[in-house]
């Protein structure tokens, strides 16, 4: 089943990348300096500016669709729990 092989590969890749990055994190210099992040800090760059609204829409989709999951990660300091 191609999808199972695909996700097994994704898991292996994710684990490798995560361990590699954690092991080598002290040697990588941030390529976007803190003083260059004004655009990223703008509230319009948040993946979900208002958690109460984003959570509700995820609920609507999940109630009407067969798919579920991977909606997470608020981003941009949105504070989604």
């Amino acid at each position: 089943m191609p999808s199972l092989r695909f996700f097994a590969l994704i898991r292996l890749l994710g684990l490798s990348v995560t361990l590699g990055l954690i092991a080598g994190c002290s040697s990588i210099e941030p390529w976007v300096k803190p003083y260059e992040r004004a655009n990223l800090a703008d509230p319009i760059m948040s993946f979900s500016r208002d958690p109460i609204n984003a959570t509700y829409m995820h609920h609507v989709y999940q109630a009407r669709e067969g798919a579920r999951g991977a909606e997470g990660s608020g981003g941009g300091g949105c504070g989604c729990n």
Partner: protein, 392 residues
């Protein structure tokens, strides 16, 4: 017969119940991508409304987040669904009904250096369904906060009842594991990768809902029997999101998700959105979202005969269909002088128009057709959110 009608009338309630549990898993493991800070201190009060396909669901929602000190933040949410249903399933076999679901969520975040540890609990209650979900997450920054790793786990247990049978008692369990990586790519581009596994075990179908099968012995040519789902389900979803800051101060977002599960449902959804601030106080947003899925391997609109196979489903959520969503949102930000403790406030209106178009779910309320040749079903839904927010 009356009992049967009542049972079918309640069917959609249990469907909503079951999907809520899945929803809670997804909701509870959402964590902040910028982990080295506590969540914003804010309060939101919302009225929400869903109106489509003969179903109206509305109610209030209140979410409050407050920091206890510089390391700890707590939150509480209250949410209500008031449901009035005359959906196609109900109209085909029973009478309209009303129902209410109440949900409470409590959570806490603990900040240690660049690590955010989160935990929480959600309870959802209806007259025939009680669900409890617990979640735990950890979020860590790397590379001068250019990267954020989120790992989270959730566990839920449900008690399933039946309003027409007081002796009916079943349980279900749900487990979710989520991996999320958020990356600052350039000074204007943010990306997120998300992988989410969910497993279910126990009573996963609806105690009321039925499937139809050919029955030449009755005048209309078909009859109904109770549906039967497998007792396990495992799903995987992978999503990629990005947001790009445009030079004139606007943002464009693109999101894609691929989903697959052991019921052989494969789904894809793609979204484009655009956010445009105007003057000092206004923000406008538009979005387009497309969703498509194939049917579960035990779904059929019309089975050949009674007990045609071990597992049987005719939920349109498990059929093959497409949906398109066009959404608009407008926000007005202001200084709330009457609350001198508040930093800012906003009032927001968001409106989504969603069309659902089913490929193999037929509208049996249409007359004049031979069995199995009724037109396929489709409907439109309006989803409205009106909410007021205060930051403090």
């Amino acid at each position: 017969m009356l009992v049967a009608l009542k049972a079918v009338a309640e069917a959609a309630v249990a469907v909503i119940n079951r999907t809520i549990i899945v929803g809670l898993i997804g909701f509870n493991i959402i964590t902040s991508a910028m982990a080295a800070i506590l969540p914003e201190e804010r309060a939101d009060v919302m009225y929400h409304s869903y109106d489509g396909g003969g179903i109206t669901i509305d109610g209030p929602s209140v979410l409050v987040r407050k920091s206890v000190n510089s390391d700890v933040s707590v939150s509480a949410q209250y949410y209500v669904d008031q449901i009035s249903s005359a959906s196609i399933d109900v109209m085909a076999t029973a009478s309209p009904y009303s129902e209410e679901r109440t949900e409470y969520t409590f959570s806490a975040d603990y900040l240690v250096n660049k690590t955010l540890i989160s935990g929480g609990y959600t309870n959802s209650t209806e007259n025939d369904y009680d669900a409890n979900t617990y979640f735990f997450g950890i979020s860590q920054d790397f590379f001068g906060s250019l990267s954020t790793l989120d790992l989270s786990f959730s566990y839920g247990e449900d008690d399933v009842g039946n309003v027409t049978d007081s002796s009916f008692s079943e349980t279900a369990e749900h487990r979710g594991f989520q991996f999320s990586w958020t990356q600052v790519v350039t000074r204007s581009l943010l990306m997120n990768f998300n992988y989410h596994i969910i497993t279910d075990k126990g009573f996963l179908n609806n105690p009321y809902r039925t499937v139809r099968y050919y029955d030449p012995g009755v005048s209309k040519g078909y009859s109904y029997q109770l549906e039967q789902y497998p007792e396990t389900r495992s799903s995987q979803a992978i999503a990629v999101k990005s947001r790009y800051f445009l030079s004139y101060r606007a943002a464009i977002g693109v999101e894609y998700r691929y989903y697959t599960d052991t019921w052989e449902i494969d789904a894809h959804n793609l979204e484009f959105n655009y956010t445009h601030p105007w003057r000092d106080n206004w923000t406008f947003e538009v979005k387009y979202r497309f969703y498509t899925q194939n049917a579960a391997n035990f779904y059929s609109d019309l089975f050949a005969f009674e007990n045609a196979q071990r597992y049987l489903a005719r939920d349109k959520e498990l059929s093959e269909f497409e949906s398109t969503d066009i959404g608009f949102a407008i926000s007005y930000e202001f200084q709330p002088h009457w609350f001198n403790w508040a930093e800012k406030g906003s009032i927001n209106l968001a409106w989504d128009f969603i069309n659902f178009d089913y490929s193999n779910f037929r509208d049996v309320t249409q007359s004049g057709y031979t069995v199995g040749s009724e037109p396929t079903y489709s409907f439109d839904a309006d989803v409205i959110r009106l909410y007021f927010s205060l930051w403090f």
